[in-house]
Assembly symmetry: C2
Homo-oligomer: 414 residues x 2
């Protein structure tokens, strides 16, 4: 008998009929001999409706505390309805709000971090042969204030609960079949991966893949909890996210991904003395602007230039701030920006052993006459910044070269 | 500086604009130098929408526990939105769910009774010059399960919180101006009462007046908490519900009320021996059918008959049950019923001193040729059952005779 944690997102519980489908799936898992814990999000549309009311009544200065009290009602609604639907199938289920679960977080409203989970009440419910139905996304701080975990919080809740209960697997149900080698809407030849390592998944999530949230993958990696990403529409196996040593097939490149939500800023004529980078990026950090890629050119005539990317919504503010900071960077610093860029990345455990991956990547792009504006690398990924209009072309060409043309090989030969 | 508890029902918080109005009213009370605690219901329409979902997914056998988890989200939504609206006016407010308030109840889901309230957290918020905004209708049992108080629960929450905080007054805001001598839609000459005693209010509430719920009046009476029923649309004084000795003007009849939601059942040919009434009404009670008025005829030839009223929704079931019980009541018992009845009542502290009130009531009805089918009396009320079609006629005639024709007199002369 396994203990299985199943997480269903807002689309999977979007209306009464879908909630009934989830109930049937949960009951089938239990009838197959497993203990089942379900984590659910708010019904799709619900959170947006609540946020619209908050915007109207609270305005931009609305209280984070009350915002969390408001939006947490969305998941509470779903747990009650799903429990009822399970009862209607003749099975037992008990719902848990974040507070009832003992999901203790810090006090960062709307972006709280999980500190601990009291799993005893859930275990008691499972011991009584009932399904535990838990509200994702929410918890309470030490004073009993309701908190929420921020974007993708339900994935994180699910993985955290799975870890606390020492579950055998955390299944994340979604509207896609699993993790693909590239966006299937962009690359017809993209295929579903049977397995992927935490590290690769983390890179893919950071680089724009929307299948899993970064925080949930980090949590799973820390505790070694296997995640099974699968479709809520059929029974086929999806993608297992697991430890590197458990990944059977090592691909040089397991995924090609892209992100069109960043913009590029270049500060030229920066005096090449210590402290300049700190002044620039310290100023941006203080303003809460998250900088992604950074490239600094080799010094030339005592001055250098720094190019970096920021999220597109922060672009105008970052440009303005860079202009304000420019006079402190050595006298004649200039600022220019370009929002029409894309970051295209290849990710794969295999590339740590293959020095030629970067060279091959640049070669593939050159053959398509795509100019590379910035380059960033890590142990298992290479990212390039290119003109936005070449995104599809670059992704398809890289997928063709690295994935389709048989670049995979057994791990033992890696 | 007074401590004022204000309760706003679902209509008063029915949309964003109305919630803003409530916020303005609350802030005005605070600016007048008072400490303010607000109790709110779910936005009108919200509970019905939730119940519809519960009906669809849970069916008639749905879990009471999960039903409470579901419907309690309605008030939780309102407290967050009202707190935001108060913030938007530049004032501080902190919301409380039933759990956060420490509103401890028994475990009777959907009809829970309040056991205790931990007022310390609310006091702390008030000491910080903030408004405390509390979700009505909900609490938690000793195990942390969410419970709800049943119909009119928010009134009861408000009075209970007022008592726990030793507030100066509990204001119940509603869409009428106060408590009237009769339904103003039926009796044009009906007028608002400035004051009414707990006992009278309790009778009026039991007899069909919808202004306050019976349980909230009982609670207030027990603790001597003054209730001020007033309009949420204007600033005029409403009706104070208070102790008998604080009511300045004693009216012989302070109100004429009616209830068309009962049906009459007559069981004839019941053997006149001990135990027959117990067998009949015990059987009904076991089936959860609440019997209101009961009349037993004088014995005749060793048999008697019993006539009683039940809520109309229970009528068919009660008839069926009475037929099943009939053979145990002495051999030739017969059952007949009539759903087309109304109960019309006059209520007033003054009538305890006026033996003639009953006689005058019967006389007024006789003059209108209205036949009296059943009579029930208490210290401060007389109820009669009549044909339903005469309801308006009876209420108007009784109001004319007892209220309009100067039957009131100063208390000291009562």
């Amino acid at each position: 008998m396994s203990l299985i944690v199943q997480k269903f997102g807002g689309t999977s519980v979007g209306d009464a009929e879908r909630i009934r489908n989830v109930a049937r799936r949960v009951v089938a898992t239990q009838q197959a001999g497993h203990r089942v814990v379900v984590i659910v999000s708010a019904m799709s549309g619900e959170t947006n409706a609540l946020v619209a009311l908050a915007d109207e009544l609270g305005g931009p200065e609305r209280s984070d505390r009350e915002y969390d009290v408001l939006v947490s009602t969305g998941e509470q609604k779903t747990i009650a309805l799903l429990s009822m639907a399970i009862h209607a199938l003749g099975h037992d289920a008990v719902s848990f709000t974040g507070a009832q679960l003992g999901m203790r977080t810090d006090t960062s409203h709307s972006n709280a971090r999980i500190e601990s989970i009291d799993a005893d009440r859930v275990r008691k419910v499972l011991d009584g042969n009932a399904v535990a139905v838990i509200a994702g996304f929410q918890g309470t701080d030490a004073d009993g204030n309701i908190t929420t975990l921020g974007r993708g919080g339900s994935d994180t809740s699910a993985v955290a609960v799975a870890c606390a209960l020492e579950a055998d697997v955390c299944e994340i149900y979604t509207d896609v079949d699993g993790v693909f080698t590239a966006d299937p809407n962009m690359v017809g030849a993209a295929h579903k991966l049977a397995q992927i390592s935490y590290d690769e998944m983390l890179e893919l999530a950071s680089l724009g893949s929307k299948v899993l949230q970064v925080r949930s993958v980090k949590f799973a990696m820390q505790y070694g909890m296997p995640i099974h990403v699968r479709s809520s529409f059929h029974e086929a196996e999806g993608t297992w996210v697991t430890r590197e040593e458990d990944v059977m097939e090592r691909l040089v490149v397991s995924g090609v991904t892209y992100n069109r939500n960043e913009a590029k800023i270049r500060v030229g004529g920066v005096k090449d003395t210590p402290g300049m980078a700190g002044a620039l990026f310290g100023g941006l950090a203080e303003a809460g602007i998250v900088v992604d890629m950074i490239v600094q050119n080799v010094s030339h005539d005592g001055s250098t230039d720094m190019t970096f990317t920021v999220p597109k919504p922060e672009y105008e503010r970052a440009i303005q701030l860079a202009n304000e900071l420019a006079p402190t960077l050595g006298g004649d610093a200039t600022v220019e920006g370009d929002p029409d860029i894309a970051k295209v990345s290849v990710v794969g455990l295999g590339m740590t052993d293959h020095a030629g991956v970067a060279a091959k990547m640049f070669d593939v792009l050159a053959q398509e006459s795509i100019n590379i504006q910035m380059i960033g690398t890590s142990e298992i990924k290479i990212s390039v910044v290119i003109e936005e209009k070449y995104t599809e072309l670059a992704v398809r060409a890289l997928h063709q070269a690295f994935v389709e043309d048989g670049a995979s090989e057994p791990r033992s030969e890696g």
